[in-house]
């Protein structure tokens, strides 16, 4: 099967496939491996799917991307709620397993709880319960639970060439957070990172989107995974500065970096990326606008299974190499940025 061998070029996919081979699959599960941002399970007699997703926030804490407990809590909630958004589910709630750094007292925990609660409140949901542990390295694992009509679920698979590609908002905000941590520029007075999972926007996509995925690993990794899953390519037609969130654009300018670095680095911003057939484009954009939602047109799907930037000449992006770059440079984030810049040249 060619798709599998294409997926196989990415280390993270190989890891997931090894787990898939080692575990029996639920016979009623409504998604295959890789096919959706959340696990989907029919609730018999209801016409609905339970959407379930679990994720651990650890690396961003270890790298110093998130230092204050409120940001850690907010991001831990948002990363899982964003996966519910990508399947267009309505959240029922969040479960939280917190591993506190030894010595974290009541104040640390209260701020962490405030972050978790704030990210839930921003999308109209609640923390239902959880568990607390202590260890050397802090981490937070969240599990988001939601419901979605079987007929309205969004998956990563289903797009063909010739469709329009959108994002739910400007991209690259995660790059600024990473750049600040890596350059030690933590006191620059920027607003804290508080992305809101795009649950409300996702419901506008139902009936239009043929494939959808969140940008938790950045735009390029998202397009690349959609490319491998669907056997299509992606052409980015929008000028990059127009895709970039203003802070990310300023970060690239300040550091003398190609704006593409902000879209290719793997610390994502939790927007959604989705495809709409060209014939439905006008109707979709009109309806979205009526509801005050301005999707960002990113580009289009193409037959050739590559990621390229429109231009004279077009630029091909070696997305496989970029996605495997962490393995290539080891876990040293300071080596990562120069390697990424070189890989994008």
């Amino acid at each position: 099967m060619p798709l599998t061998s294409s997926l196989d070029q990415i280390g993270e996919n190989r890891l997931l496939d090894a787990w898939g081979r080692a575990l029996r699959r639920h016979p009623a599960q409504a998604n295959r491996m890789h096919e959706a941002d959340a696990e989907l399970l029919p609730l018999p007699g209801t016409g609905q799917l339970l959407a379930l997703t679990t994720d651990t926030l650890a690396e961003e804490i270890a790298l110093g991307f998130y230092t204050d407990p409120e940001t850690i809590g907010w991001m831990a909630a948002t990363m899982s709620l964003s996966d519910l958004a990508a399947v267009a589910a309505s959240p029922l709630g969040l479960l939280v397993a917190v591993t506190l750094p030894r010595g974290a007292g009541g104040e640390y925990q209260a701020h962490l709880a405030a972050g978790l609660d704030g990210a839930c409140e921003a999308v109209g949901t609640f923390v239902l319960g959880g568990d607390t542990n202590f260890a050397a390295d802090a981490s937070v694992t969240t599990t988001a639970v939601g419901l979605v009509e079987e007929a309205g679920v969004l998956r990563r698979v289903g797009c063909v060439s010739g469709e329009v590609v959108y994002a739910s908002g400007p991209l690259g905000a995660g790059a600024t957070v990473a750049a600040r941590a890596l350059t030690g520029d933590v006191g620059s007075g920027g607003r804290p990172f508080r992305p809101v999972a795009r649950l409300a926007e996702a419901r506008r996509l139902v009936g239009y989107a043929t494939a959808c995925m969140d940008t938790s690993d950045g735009l390029i990794a998202t397009l690349d995974q959609l490319s491998r899953l669907n056997g299509v390519g992606f052409e980015i037609t929008a000028p990059l500065p127009r895709l970039l969130e203003s802070g990310a654009l300023r970060t690239c300018q300040a550091l003398g970096l190609d704006p593409l670095v902000a879209l290719a680095q793997p610390h994502g911003e939790f927007e959604l990326v989705w495809t709409v057939p060209a014939r439905a484009r006008e109707r979709f954009e009109r309806e979205a606008r009526l509801e005050g939602f301005e999707p960002l047109a990113v580009g289009r799907t193409i037959t050739e299974p590559v990621i390229r930037l429109c231009g004279e000449p077009p630029r091909l992006i070696d997305a496989a190499r970029i996605r495997n770059l962490t393995d290539e440079v080891g876990s040293d984030p300071r080596k990562y940025v120069p390697a990424l810049v070189a890989a994008l040249r």
Copy 2:
């Protein structure tokens, strides 16, 4: 409210209550804090509750109680499935967030997966999906999801004095695991620890049990928490050797320990403990036996809010001190056992 102040004497309850104060509560949630082993949320129009529970397995790995990855996987699955059992839910599946020790290769992961899968298969359920990370300390967070009829849910609250107290099986198996690790007696050829979550047995309790909780922290902690929640006490009337799993009894004999140590130490065995009104005792036991299930009669609920062993004279157990002992002795497990023995004297 006297119950709250009683719960408050236990460090773990205070920690949970602090989180409860910091987080908004879902208005439809069908359990209050402490009231059930799993979070309960109505699924509108179905008459059913979604049962959800998340837990992190970390301390038992750090202490060397579980060393091989298959045991780690099995126990991580069982601890959350056991919480579903305690509310009499039927499992829909399990989500798994694995934090691998750096350097854990494919074989380690395959054994971990086999353990997770085996514990799920033993109760007829499946791993639905998950997430993988690497860090210095290994841990596994599992989230179990299940369904239970609103009318058939079991909670920790609801027993009164004069009821019969049962356990789903012999107790103390966790003590042997802990003793082996702490004494370095790892090569004694014992069978690996593979408790099966008591999901099938829990369904036999519906209509009879007035309160139910799993023994994930050992029998005494379980009875103590039920005591604080229900404002009743517990008298253990069964001779202790009859309550003890055979390996635990041998461990106590070999180490010259009071059998009560095996029931009071906090590494549990994932049995269920529940109460049945005295008038329903005969019918319950007959029905259970017809289905091949032999519950173990532990004792009875009493008016006085204490935990005591029947005998001449009766022995009072200082359960609050025992449950807070980890805080008292610090995190050194070698100091813990002598302190526990002294506290039980």
